[in-house]
Structure formats: structure tokens, C-alpha cells
């Protein structure tokens, strides 16, 4: 596994083929301008106007008539929004656990990654799993189905698909993977803050303490990942100076 990014024969820039680039620029300037009544924005706008949503939030069990108490457990002005966001967080934490599994494997194969770092990542992984369990129980307490994919969970998975690609790619360095993880942790922090507020506003006091603890742990994750990334970047810089 490559631990550092070397200087080499990168061919993507125009300075690699200045004659070709100049010839291309000349012909592009001379080419007829494309005329259209529509623009990218107008076509997109039409599609935005016409589109259906991604999908719906599944009905809680109580609403379906399975458990009478569940419907009463749903409070607030838009309970479907809360269920949607709980489903999103749940899916994110579950995928996050898989993300850390891949990162741990990468660290184990990086000779420069200390055992203490790997232990720290295991700890974060376990807390992601614990948060998944917490959210599962929270959804069940509201009569919601934690196995369903809610619209926000679906969209969130599309968003984080790039993170999975970066971390699982054997060619990416640990630093590049940590940068992807940082994106995930930043989003996770902000999302837990909003979810906590949502739960408070809806009057689900029984959920608040657990969610506060989860937020605190997510803040700790961020506080751990940032220095790891900085440390990894510093290692690369030192290696460069030695050369």
C-alpha cells in the first residue's frame, strides 16, 4: 500500500502538452458559438418543477393499527420529519461502522500507523455501532420501523457514497482516507446537533439524554480525527523535506 504520494509523471495538465493545448485553444476560440433557447438551468428548472419526491416515510406501527400506544408516542408538528431524520442518522451510523472497518484494515496495513491509532479507531467504530443501537431503540419507541430506508436515509447514502469509494480504495493513502472520514464526522456532528434540537422541540424528553451523550461522543470523534489527519499531513511534509 502506498503511504505517501510521490512526485511523478502526471500527464493531466496542459503544461505536459503545450503545443496540443495551444492548438486546441485556438480552434475552440474559432468554433461557432452554440446557440440555444434553453440553458442547463432552464432544463434543470423544468425537471425540478415536475419531479416527484424520493419517497415517503413509512407509517408508524400505531398508525397502521398494530399498537395503539405508538401513535400517541408521536409528538410535535411533523412527526414524519422526525422519523425521517432518525432513519437518516441510523443509516449513517450503520454505514459509518462499515466505513471504520475499512479504515481500520487500511491502518493495519500501513506500517506508519501506530497501534494506539488503530485502537482509537476501534473505539470510534464501537461508538458508531452504539449510536446505531440507540437510534434503533428510539425509532421503535415511536412505533417506527428501524429496518425501513427513509427518504433522508436514502439521500444521505447517495451523499456518502463518495466517502465509501475513497476509504475502500486500496490506492488511497491513510491521509486521503482520513480526509474522507473527516467529511463524514463533520456532517455527523452537525446532524446530531440538529437531531437533538428536533427531539427537544418535539418534547421527547426521554430521548434527550441519550442523544446528548451521542453528540458528545461525536464531538470527541471529530476531535480525534482532525489531529490524526494533521499528523498524517505533517509526516508527508517531513518526508518531502528529507528528500
Amino acid at each position: 500500500m502506498q503511504t505517501r504520494t510521490p512526485m511523478g509523471m502526471n500527464r493531466t495538465g496542459t503544461t505536459v502538452s503545450p503545443l496540443g493545448a495551444r492548438a486546441m485553444q485556438q480552434i475552440a476560440e474559432q468554433a461557432a458559438e452554440t446557440m440555444s433557447d434553453d440553458s442547463l438551468a432552464t432544463l434543470r428548472g423544468i425537471a425540478f418543477d415536475e419531479a416527484d419526491g424520493v419517497g415517503s416515510v413509512p407509517l408508524p406501527a400505531g398508525v397502521k393499527g398494530v399498537a395503539k400506544s405508538a401513535a400517541a408516542a408521536l409528538k410535535g408538528k411533523a412527526p414524519e420529519y422526525l422519523i425521517d431524520k432518525l432513519g437518516e442518522r441510523l443509516a449513517f451510523e450503520r454505514s459509518g461502522a462499515r466505513l471504520y472497518e475499512a479504515l481500520i484494515t487500511k491502518c493495519e496495513h500501513d506500517p506508519e500507523c501506530a497501534a494506539a491509532v488503530i485502537a482509537e479507531l476501534h473505539h470510534i467504530h464501537d461508538e458508531e455501532l452504539a449510536h446505531f443501537g440507540l437510534l434503533k431503540r428510539a425509532m421503535e419507541s415511536l412505533g417506527a420501523d428501524p429496518t425501513a430506508q427513509t427518504p433522508c436515509a436514502d439521500v444521505s447514502a447517495v451523499m456518502s457514497s463518495g466517502i465509501v469509494q475513497v476509504v475502500t480504495d486500496p490506492r488511497t493513502t491513510l491521509a486521503q482516507s482520513l480526509e474522507a472520514i473527516l467529511v463524514a464526522e463533520l456532517a455527523d456532528n452537525a446532524s446530531w446537533e440538529m437531531l437533538l434540537q428536533l427531539v427537544r422541540d418535539a418534547g421527547h424528553d426521554d430521548l434527550v439524554a441519550g442523544f446528548e451523550q451521542a453528540l458528545q461522543q461525536e464531538q470527541e470523534h471529530l476531535a480525534k480525527i482532525k489531529p490524526l489527519l494533521q499528523q498524517s499531513a505533517a509526516t508527508q511534509m517531513r518526508a518531502r523535506k528529507r528528500k
Partner: protein, 390 residues
């Protein structure tokens, strides 16, 4: 299918089959709210249209006089395929779409296997079914372990996720995948339609895996897609071999158009989404137009009656439903079946060529075994049970 006559019905004339650019990019179905069988039908019909293009391009390479007519029909079918394939929403991750493809392979092949009148052909479908059934299990493990997602979000409780004939044991020497064809003069029309339909579906699956496999960064995902794409190539070999090689090219075109009519008619009857049902209805009308055209070409060029090829069978529409009970029965009885040459056996016997080929391919390990080691499907992913401990 009393209201559909493959030998006489006329549909929309080819000259009136038109599309706008916007038709080609319709609003997608909902991954979350539409019934899984709507997605099954979308995938099936896209596969059939892509195969229609494939067959017609092949015929055009071999036949000069038919080239223009082939190009005209192909243009419409290309646009049908585009419209249909664009119905799959972009929120499907490639593995989620894969789960949908395997659901098609299982549920549709099981339906075909139960209504295939030729016992040998039915056996071939059951044989392949158990292999695609195993692929679903392996891909479900990958979806869980790579993306942290539950394959049942796609399957919606219709299709079981357990091992079938293990993928690592599906690798066979090419000669052990070439099946015995039906005989064109004695085979029932439905047998010809079944073979065209399932070959098309498997071809599409093969091509999808070949395209999507290298887009994964994860090494085991890349390896798994490479491994299963190899089996799908075997399946295309198996199912393609079921067709009589003595059929003329025009005869094959006629059968393919009849298959498309049959499939659209079945899908239209079963469709629960009204917007999609209207699409199946429109395209059934288009396909009847294609069939009418080819019936005429067949009569004019070959001086033969299309009834010789399509017979007078009463066709029962395909039913789209969970085939759980049937699949479980086949799994229990036939998982250890193997094939030597064109013949299946229940003793587990295999040829020296297959054993040598398999040993060679599996010499560096089996991605399908590695990805699913210890995997057992649970609602909400296998992490569900682990989370209890934290």
C-alpha cells in the same frame, strides 16, 4: 391470453411510433415506494429491448436486404430501452440495482421454469435459478458489509437471502455449459419465448456487471463482480444454447418480437403503478406493430407461415409474484445437481475439464466465499445484532 393473438393482432404502425427527447428521460420510479415487482418489470423489459438491439445488429451483419427495416425497428427499440432504463432512480447504489437484477433472475426464471412444458428446458431453468439465487446471497452480504445496507429494502420481503449452489462451485468448463436446444419444428411456441426472454435477461445482467464492476473502489467488490460476471457469461452460454441453431435469422427475429409482445402484455396486466402501466400499454402496441411487420417479412422472404414458428398455443401471461415456495423446493432437491456436457445429473458428477477449470480459477481464493463468510441475513443488516452489545 385470449385477448392476444401473436399471429393476427396488429398494433401501432412503425411510422407512427415516435418519441421526443423528453420521452427518453422520464421521471424515475420510487425506490422506496414502488412495489419491487415494478422494478423487476423495468429491469426485465430493458434487458429484452437491449437484446432486441443485439439480435437485430447481428442479423444486419449477415443480411443486406433487411438492413434498412432492421435499422427502422431498432431505432424505436433503442428509444424504448432508453425510456425504460431511465426509470431506474439514481438513488439506487450499483449494488442495490444489482440486488434488483438478481431478483429478476430468481423470480422470473422461477415463473418460467414452472410453466415450461419441455422437461429438459425446465430443468435448465431450475439449474440456473439456483446459481442466481446464490448470487443474491453474496451481493446481499456485500451490500451489508460495504455500505451497511439491508438488501431487503430492495427485495421487500419477496425473495429469500440464503446460499444456493455456491458461486465458487458454479465455475464450469465451457463445454459443460452448452445445453441441448429445443427442436424448432416440434417445440411449443412458449418454449421459444421463454428461451429468448431468459437469455435476454441474463445477457443484460452480464453486461451490467461488466460495466459496473470496475467502478467500485473496494477490492472485494471488484473481485466479486468479476467472479459473478464470469458465471453470467456461462448463463448466457447455457440459455442461448437452448435456442435451435437451425432457425433462420428472420425466424429468430420473429420469435424475439413475439417474446416482446408477450412480455409487455404480461407486465401491463400485472403493473400496479398507473404511469408505468401506461408505458407498458404503449409499448405493447408498438411491439404488435413490429410483430406485424416481421410476420409480413417472414411470409414474403421465406414463403413460410408464421404459424409454423409461433404455433397456435394459448399463452398464459407471466405472473409476477414471490416464488418463495417453489425456489425453496428446488433448492432442497437440486442444489447438488451438476452438469456434464448437455446433461444434468443428481449425483454431483462433474467432468475432468470442469474440475481442472474450477481449480485453476479458484486457485487464488474465492471472493464470493470471502465476502459472505459467516453472513446470515437479518432484518436491518447483521450489525443489528451486534449493536445490541453496545
Amino acid at each position: 391470453m385470449a385477448d392476444l393473438d401473436l399471429l393476427r393482432d396488429k398494433g401501432c404502425p412503425l411510422s407512427q411510433q415516435r418519441f421526443t427527447g423528453k420521452d427518453l428521460s422520464p421521471k424515475p420510479i420510487s425506490k422506496l415506494d414502488d412495489d419491487a415487482f415494478t422494478r423487476v418489470r423495468v429491469i426485465l423489459l430493458n434487458g429484452l429491448e437491449i437484446d432486441a438491439l443485439r439480435l437485430k445488429h447481428m442479423i444486419a451483419r449477415c443480411n443486406g436486404p433487411l438492413r434498412t427495416k432492421l435499422a427502422e425497428v431498432r431505432r424505436v427499440e433503442h428509444h424504448q430501452a432508453t425510456l425504460i432504463n431511465w426509470l431506474i432512480g439514481p438513488d439506487h447504489s450499483p449494488i442495490e440495482t444489482t440486488i434488483g437484477y438478481e431478483q429478476v433472475a430468481i423470480e422470473v426464471t422461477a415463473e418460467v421454469a414452472q410453466h415450461e412444458p419441455d422437461p429438459y428446458l425446465a430443468q435448465a431453468y431450475r439449474f440456473g435459478l439456483l446459481e442466481d439465487f446464490d448470487h443474491l446471497y453474496r451481493y446481499s452480504a456485500l451490500l451489508d458489509r460495504l455500505e451497511g445496507k439491508d438488501a431487503n429494502n430492495i427485495l421487500q420481503g419477496y425473495t429469500d437471502i440464503v446460499p444456493g449452489r455456491p458461486t465458487m462451485l458454479e465455475h464450469r468448463a465451457p463445454e459443460d455449459d452448452v445445453r441441448r436446444p429445443y427442436e424448432r419444428n416440434s417445440a411449443r411456441a412458449i418454449s421459444k419465448l421463454h428461451a429468448a426472454l431468459i437469455t435476454a435477461a441474463e445477457y443484460q445482467t452480464h453486461d451490467y456487471y461488466m460495466n459496473i464492476g470496475p467502478q467500485f473502489a473496494d477490492p472485494i467488490a471488484r473481485q466479486l463482480y468479476a467472479e459473478i460476471a464470469s458465471i453470467e457469461e456461462q448463463h448466457v452460454t447455457q440459455y442461448g444454447a437452448l435456442e435451435d441453431p437451425n432457425e433462420s435469422l428472420l425466424e429468430k427475429w420473429l420469435i424475439h418480437e413475439a417474446t416482446e409482445v408477450y412480455a409487455y402484455h404480461s407486465c401491463m396486466q400485472a403493473e400496479s403503478n398507473p404511469r408505468i402501466k401506461a408505458i407498458w400499454e404503449r409499448f405493447l402496441d408498438y411491439e404488435l406493430g413490429h410483430l406485424e411487420l416481421v410476420r409480413k417479412l417472414f411470409k414474403d422472404s421465406e414463403r413460410r407461415d408464421p404459424a409454423e414458428v409461433l404455433g397456435a398455443d394459448g399463452l398464459v401471461p407471466l405472473v409476477f409474484k414471490s416464488q418463495r415456495d417453489f425456489v425453496r423446493q428446488v433448492l432442497a432437491k437440486e442444489v447438488d445437481y451438476r452438469a456434464i456436457g448437455t446433461e444434468f445429473n443428481d449425483r454431483g458428477d462433474e467432468s475432468e475439464a470442469t474440475l481442472a477449470y474450477r481449480n485453476q480459477l479458484n486457485a487464488s481464493g474465492s471472493p464470493s466465499q470471502a465476502v459472505s463468510a459467516g453472513y446470515r441475513w437479518q432484518p436491518g443488516t447483521e450489525l443489528n445484532a451486534q449493536a445490541v452489545n453496545f
